[in-house]
Amino acid sequence: MELAVEMRNITKTYPENNLRANDGIDFSLRKGEILCLAGENGAGKTTLMKVLYGLESHEKGTIRIRGNQENISSPLVANRLGIGMVHQHFMLVEDFTVAQNVVMGIEPRKYGIAYDLKKAVSLVNEAIAHHHFSIEADMLVRNLTVGQKQQVEIIKMLYRDVDILILDEPTTVLTELEIEALFSSLKQLAKRGKSLILITHKLKEIIAISDRVVVMRQGKMLGTYETKDVNEQQISALMMGKSISLSIKHAKRTDESQPVIECKKITVLRQGQERPLLKDLNFTAYSGEILGFAGVSGNGLGVLEAVLGGFIPVFDGKILHDGNDITNIGTAQLRRQGLAYVPSDRLQIGSSLKASVQENIIVGESRSFRKNGFIDQRQVTKHTNDLLEKYSTKGTAQMPIGTMSGGNIQKVILAREIERYQDYIVFSEPTWGLDIASSQFVYEQMASLRDKGAAVILISSNLDEILTISDRIIVLYRGTRVASFVGDEARNLSKEEIGEYMLGIRKQGASHV
């Protein structure tokens, strides 16, 4: 079969830490196939693809594109060779429209210098229609959901006529339905002869979409397999060197369960928009249970997170904590009243990347760490080191947290929030971008908190996650509660069923509370 890409003996070392991210990798991509590049965080997958895309240089090895040896020195060269990459973090200008983002760099012109904005819209609309995407070229990127933004990224590449497309963890930010839509588009593309590489560590997706799977671990390549010949357990074993399955024991609400957080008919309005972001939302989070909120993005999960975090005020309704009114008291007050909260955006909100680990640990800390009125650095460092050890996080108290890996940053955030929790804790997208081992760790922490009697609120667009660990599930659709499931009902729920509620196709009657 014809090879689209052939990489031989690629070696790449990061000079900053002498880490050999790619160690003699041999990699090939067939024309028209979907190939998954699998591995844990830090296995060197992204590095390999950055080398292919011209974003990183390599010390050793050769790259052949469609049989010809090439020196890919920049993304521009890669584009010219028909290689495109969709990054994990979107490279989109929020204030520009879809079309303007897509055509950037190869804008259609009129009179030689002017930007033909209309033509850009029509060209991009054509491309969108051609690939059956659901966006429109003249939409402002700012107003798009994450799934739609990803479509923009893909269209951006397809518009450049790439026939080798690299997608870096494309599903981390997508909902179940968006993933389905994405996968069907990707299959369409493969059918038309495009060759695709998906970087991922999600086993189910590998099985669902790929023709072949390449597994990497710690900078080395372990092998290339036909997907039909391997199963999830085998891949997982290869990726981690051992087999892990995600399972968490569920708990039932007992008579001892106390209401901790009660939301009574909360409504959030946005100026200039008719439809409220949240409307008459009622729920109670009880001690000793994990309450999961599911929903397609843009349906109020983010707003609920912001309300619970105290970032935006509610227009109407009341929030009670242990019976005390905590409506609209602001983050600082909420924190003082016992809010523990792991935010979805761990890099912008959950941590301060330039600050040291210990400075990240003591934010809003109720313990004073003070001696004679000053912060006692030694006590802080000791506390931080204790936590790093307890949560088996690699790093030192003094290093800037931004130099840690994503998984370790999340562990630091978890450590901080879990240590300070009093009776309830909010988790939003807690395993976003984490590998299986780290996700398992997070779930275990959540379960143990629950078992200790905490009211755990989980907000997640990841259905697997919701179904795996929630004791009770509430589905949000267009800012309102459309369904809730308790106990066995929640456990036996199928993804398809819950998906119908999330899409607003089905709605529960008033009997469910």
């Binding site: 990061y14 000079p15 900053e16 830490n17 002498n18 880490l19 991210a21 965080n41 830090g42 060197g44 992204t46 590095t47 994990q88 975090g309 970032f311 983050t331 600082a332 909420l334 924190r335 003082r336 809010l339 909260y341 935010p343 912008q348 909100i349 959950g350 941590s351 301060s352 990347l353 330039k354 600050a355 400075e359 003591i362 934010v363 809003g364 004073s368 003070r370 009125g373 000053f374 912060i375 650095q377 690699k394 790093g395 030192t396 290093m399 130099t403 840690m404 890996s405 994503g406 971008g433």
Partner: protein, 353 residues
Amino acid sequence: MSEKRNPTSKNAFPTLKESIGSLLIVLIALSGVIILSFLLSKTPSKTLRYFFLGPLQNAYYFGNMLNGAIPLIFGGLGISLAMRSGNFNLGGEGQIYSGALATTLFALYLAPLGVVGAILALFIGAFVAGGLAGLSGYLRMKWDTSELITSFLISNAVVLVVNYLIAGPFMDPSTSLIATRKIPESFRLPVLLPPSSLSTALFFALVAVIIVHIYLYKTKSGYQLRMTGLNSRFAKYGGINTRKFIVLPMFLSGFLYGLGGGFAIYGTYFSSIKEFSAGMGWNGLAVALIAKNKPSMVIPAALFFSYIEAGARSAMLHSDVTFEIAAIVQSIVFFLISSEVLFTLFEKKRRYS
């Protein structure tokens, strides 16, 4: 994404490394000065001798150089505080000027109170200046008005108002200088290095550096201020009242400028002379930027700045250099001093070796 990094690869002595890097830049900058003086002066060697050694020539020049660093230290600290919190204070000129005037006027009024009066007047001056800067902070907190621009505009207006007050209602009729009356002898700080004008204000400046350092790194409020500056969304999430840390750092920034003005009066000028502080605000800003907003680095940065100024002045006094040439030389030093790349080049070299 980010690969695992080996934490031990971080240099154990970042401060040592950084200070060596700064030293290198200073050396390169000064070499630039040497080249320039050969180009611009008819007696380059004489010019250079006075430029480099002039400030160290005798106690008088040396003392005046140190004295020149005092307001720069206060200004540099003030700007550092504001920048650390993510705010920009472009109003140093007006703040230092108004602080000095308020200190002078209250020192005259409170003369009977002795030391208490002196301290009181100093703080009133600092509060006035702090209030002006704090106003910019308040506007940003309230309506998100750019504090960079408002502090600049307020300062420009305030300078004019202070000019009016000095030349108008508070002018000392007994002198031909456009200045207020002189503060009582008992309020003047002792001279350290006669005949230079270096006064004990220097110690207060050093104390201010220590206090600001302790505040930023050892107190909860300082910690919260830095967190707000590094990432205000994180700070808010962590329960820090970020709105407070828009107004407070601006206030403190102006407060320090005001103190700088006050100490300039107590130590050097003894009366508010019209436009006496012109340029001090901007120079304080440059000092803070050179010091990369680190309080401890403000001292060497201010000394360096003052040394360059004193050197230029000395070259002007003793050779054919005019102050326009001195300005050109200073600008070249500025250009080079802030080149991050010289740091990084140097760091990379170390890494690979």
